[in-house]
Symmetry: C2
Subunit: 113 residues, 2 copies
Amino acid sequence: MKRKEIRVRCWVNVDGQRFFGPGPAELLRLIEATGSISRAARTMGMSYKKAWDIVDNLNTRARKAFVIAHKGGQRGGGAQLTDTGRKALVAYEKLAGKIEKIVRAEKALLQFV
Amino acid sequence: MKRKEIRVRCWVNVDGQRFFGPGPAELLRLIEATGSISRAARTMGMSYKKAWDIVDNLNTRARKAFVIAHKGGQRGGGAQLTDTGRKALVAYEKLAGKIEKIVRAEKALLQFV
DNA sequence: ATTCGTTATATCGGATCATACATAACGATC
DNA sequence: GATCGTTATGTATGATCCGATATAACGAAT
């Protein structure tokens, strides 16, 4: 039996290029949960470099930073979401949730495959 | 001024790999309009090979073909959508339209960038 | 000063994907 | 049977993304 599923992805473009989407959203969630970029990256099986690039991109291009990181110290350092980062994440999750709901209610497409 | 926009894309996966999405949908629309795979491809700036691969993928993996093509003849050949192909396209457009509507009503995300 | 885990950054190679090119087959019309 | 634009298919090249690796800087605590 074929496994059929409707998938949907939403993201924000700024000046034509990707700014925020499901990957960054998941990363922010895990930074909030773990308190560090590197732990968040490990948890989701992403390289630290990629995670850092994502965070840097968010902080550089948003009007206010999404993440504050500090290095050194007893535990090497860490990172937290700013208030702006937390609000952006919540707004994204709200939109994604609404879209998910639509998709769950709409299965007509799948009868053709 | 930054140009900010929310984008969304939905597609159908079969057994974990892409089956139908915005690209194939646009291609089907243009095959319907032009009567041939190659004209459709040219119209949307896509190589004929890629267009043919998409059509072949649809026809091979769907339970019924989406496109019927014939080669040779006075005008070299041509292609039309099957009834199934047309119905699948309509179902996709219906779903995509609903999602677009949600997105247009939800701009809260954009204030952070 | 040493230790520690993290932040921060550059570079290299590979894998994947897109594109271009090349060519054969087809069949109605003339 | 010559012509024509299309379908159908393979291959080679180029570009782009991704992962792995390496390394420096940092600062609190001991």
